[in-house]
Symmetry: C2
Subunit: 343 residues, 2 copies
C-alpha cells in the first residue's frame, strides 16, 4: 500500500504491466474498455507513476527547461509566461528551474539534461562567462536570453536574444545630456562585473565622451556588495551615501529600474524632489517604472517579443533549421516624469 508500483496496478486489474503502461501513456493499441477500467483503478488507488523511473527509461522526452538566474527579478515574470505558453503550444512540456546567484548554471543544465532527457534549454538572465569546453558538454540546443555576454565568445557557438546593452545605455545617457545634464551620476554594477553591468556602464562613459563631458569618477557609484544586487534597497543605500557627498550632480542614471526606485526614495527622504532637484532615469521598463511616483524615465526592453524570439530560435535549432542566431532587439526610450530638461 505504501508504495504502489505499476505491477500492483497490473495485478489488481488482472492484466500485464504493458497494458497498464499503455493505458497511462495513451498508446493506440489498447481497447477503450480495458483502458477505462485501468484508469479507474489507478484513480481509485491514487497510483502515481514514479518520474525517476520514467525519465530513466525514456530515451527522450519532449521537454524544454528554462533556467533562470536570480528569481528575484520581476523582469522575468512576463517572459516566463510567454515561454510557458509557447512551449506548450508546441506540445512540449516546460520545466522551470531557478538557479542560485552563486550556482553554476551550466552545471545545473548538464545535470538536468541527463536527468530529464531535455530537448532544449533556455538560459535566462545573469552573466555568462563559461569556458567553451563546458558549453560543449551541453548536447542539446540552448539559447541565451537577455544575458550579458563577454565578447570573447565565438558567436558561432551559441545563440542569443537580447538588447544591445551598450547602445541602449548610451542612448539613455545621451538623452540626459541632450536635456542639458552634464553632471550625471551612475549607479552601476561592481567594477569587476563582466555582464550587462559592464556594458551599460561602458555605454554611459561613451555617451559622456561623445557629448564632450569629462568623465568624473566621483559620480560613478557601484552597488553595495553586501546587499542583494539590483534591488531597491541597494539603490537606496547607494544614493543616500551619494547625497551626503558634496559632489554636485543633476541626474542619476541607475542601470535598473529597481535601483532607480531606491534612488528616488533616498532623494525624497533627503527632502529633495524628483525631478526638480534631481532627475532619475532607470533601465528595463519594469512595471514599477510606470506605477512609481514620479513615473520613471526608462529604457524598456521588449520582453514579450524577446521571449517569443527565444523560443522560435530554440525550436529552429532543435529542428535543425538554423545553425546559430543572434537577435538584438531595440529598446524603447520612455520619457516620463522622473527626468526634466535643464535647458
Amino acid at each position: 500500500m505504501e508504495r504502489m508500483t505499476i505491477i500492483d496496478i497490473a495485478k489488481m486489474c488482472g492484466v500485464g504491466v504493458t497494458t497498464v503502461s499503455r493505458a497511462m501513456n495513451n498508446h493506440p493499441d489498447i481497447s477503450e474498455e480495458t483502458k477505462a477500467m485501468i484508469m479507474k483503478v489507478i484513480k481509485e488507488n491514487h497510483y502515481v507513476p514514479n518520474n525517476s523511473a520514467r525519465n530513466l527509461k525514456r530515451s527522450a522526452s519532449k521537454t524544454i527547461a528554462v533556467l533562470i538566474k536570480g528569481i528575484t527579478n520581476p523582469f522575468f515574470n512576463h517572459m516566463i509566461k510567454v515561454f510557458e505558453q509557447e512551449i506548450q503550444r508546441k506540445k512540449y512540456s516546460f520545466f522551470l528551474q531557478r538557479v542560485d546567484e552563486n550556482q553554476d548554471e551550466i552545471e545545473v543544465a548538464i545535470e538536468l539534461e541527463k536527468e530529464k532527457r531535455l530537448k532544449g534549454i533556455v538560459f535566462l538572465g545573469g552573466y555568462f562567462s563559461h569556458s567553451q569546453e563546458k558549453l560543449n558538454q551541453l548536447t542539446v540546443p540552448f539559447v541565451l536570453s537577455t544575458i550579458g555576454m563577454t565578447e570573447e565568445f565565438d558567436l558561432n557557438n551559441y545563440s542569443s536574444v537580447s538588447v544591445d546593452d551598450f547602445k541602449e545605455s548610451y542612448r539613455m545617457v545621451d538623452y540626459l545630456c541632450n536635456q542639458g545634464h552634464t553632471k550625471i551620476a551612475i549607479i552601476t554594477a561592481a567594477m569587476d562585473d563582466v555582464s550587462i553591468g559592464k556594458l551599460r556602464y561602458e555605454g554611459y562613459k561613451q555617451a559622456l565622451k561623445d557629448n564632450g563631458i569629462d568623465y568624473n569618477a566621483q559620480l560613478v557609484w557601484c552597488m553595495k556588495e553586501n546587499i542583494e544586487s539590483y534591488t531597491m534597497e541597494n539603490g537606496y543605500t547607494v544614493t543616500k551615501e551619494m547625497l551626503e557627498t558634496k559632489e554636485e550632480f543633476t541626474a542619476i542614471y541607475a542601470i535598473s529600474d529597481n535601483l532607480a526606485v531606491g534612488a528616488c526614495r533616498a532623494i525624497i527622504e533627503a527632502g529633495k524632489r524628483v525631478p526638480e532637484d534631481y532627475s532619475v532615469a532607470g533601465f528595463d521598463g519594469l512595471d514599477i517604472s510606470f506605477y512609481y511616483n514620479p513615473s520613471l524615465t526608462t529604457m524598456k526592453q521588449p520582453v514579450v517579443e524577446m521571449a517569443e524570439e527565444t523560443i522560435k530560435i530554440l525550436f529552429d535549432l532543435i529542428n535543425k533549421k538554423i545553425t546559430h542566431s543572434h537577435k538584438i532587439f531595440p529598446a524603447e526610450l520612455i520619457v516620463r516624469e522622473s527626468t526634466r530638461s535643464l535647458l
Copy 2:
C-alpha cells in the same frame, strides 16, 4: 562518449562500479588514493551521474522541497532565502519548485515526493482547499506556510505558519476608522475566493461593523479576473474605475501592497493626491511599500520569522518531535505617508 555511465568510468579506472559509486558518494570504506584517482578521471571526462537513476535507486534522500504558488509574488523572495539557508544548515538539500496558478500543488507534491524521495515539503502561498483524502496521500511531513486555509480543515491533520489574516485585516481597517475614515473602499479578491482574500475581506466587514459603519456594497471592489491577480496593474485598473464612479470615499484599503501601488498611481493620474485626497493602505509589508512615494501604510508580515518557524516545525515533524502545530504570527501595523487622519 556521448552518454557516459558509471560503467565507463569504472572501466577507465580499472575498478568496479561499486568503487566508483563509493568515490562519488563519499562512502567511508574506500582508500583515499583510489578515490582521488577515480574523481580525477570523472573530472577529466566530465562525467555527470544521472539523477533519475540515483533517485530511483536511493531509498531516501535528504531533500526538502518548497512548492511555491505563483512565483510572481515578491513577498516570497525573503522567505525562500531563509528556507534555503536553514535547510542547508541542517545538511539537507533544497529543491524549489514553482507551481502554476492553475496547477494542483498537492498533485505536484505527490509526484515529487516519489520522484525525489523527499523528506519534507513546504507549501508556500496560495489557497488551500484540498480534500483530506488527497492530503493523506502525502506520506512525508509538510507545512503550510502563509497559506489561507478554510476553517473546515481538521487542525490535527496538518501544520501551518501564518498571520491571522482576518484579525490583521481587521486591525488595519479599524485603524482607518479611528483616523476618522467612514467611507473606506476595499480592493479585494473575487467574491468566490476562499483564501486570504476572503479572510481579509471578512476582517474589513467586521471592523466596519464594530465601528458602527454601515457596509456599503458600492465600496467593495474586486480585482479584475482578466488581469493577473494581486498586481499593480490590477489595482490600477480597479481604482481608475472606482474614481469614475460618483460614489464618495476617503480611503482605499487594498488587500496587498501591489494593489495599493496601482491604486496610488490611478489616483495621482486622476489629478488627486495621496493622502490629501485619498488615503491608501496596503497589506504584506513588501519592500515597495517602503520605497514608494508616498510610502505606504501597511500590515507587515514578519517574513523571516515565519520562514524560520516553518522550517523548525518541518524538522520537528520529520524528527517526530511533535505531531502538528499551528503558529500564528502577529503582523505589524506600519503607519506611513499614504494615510492621513481626518480628525
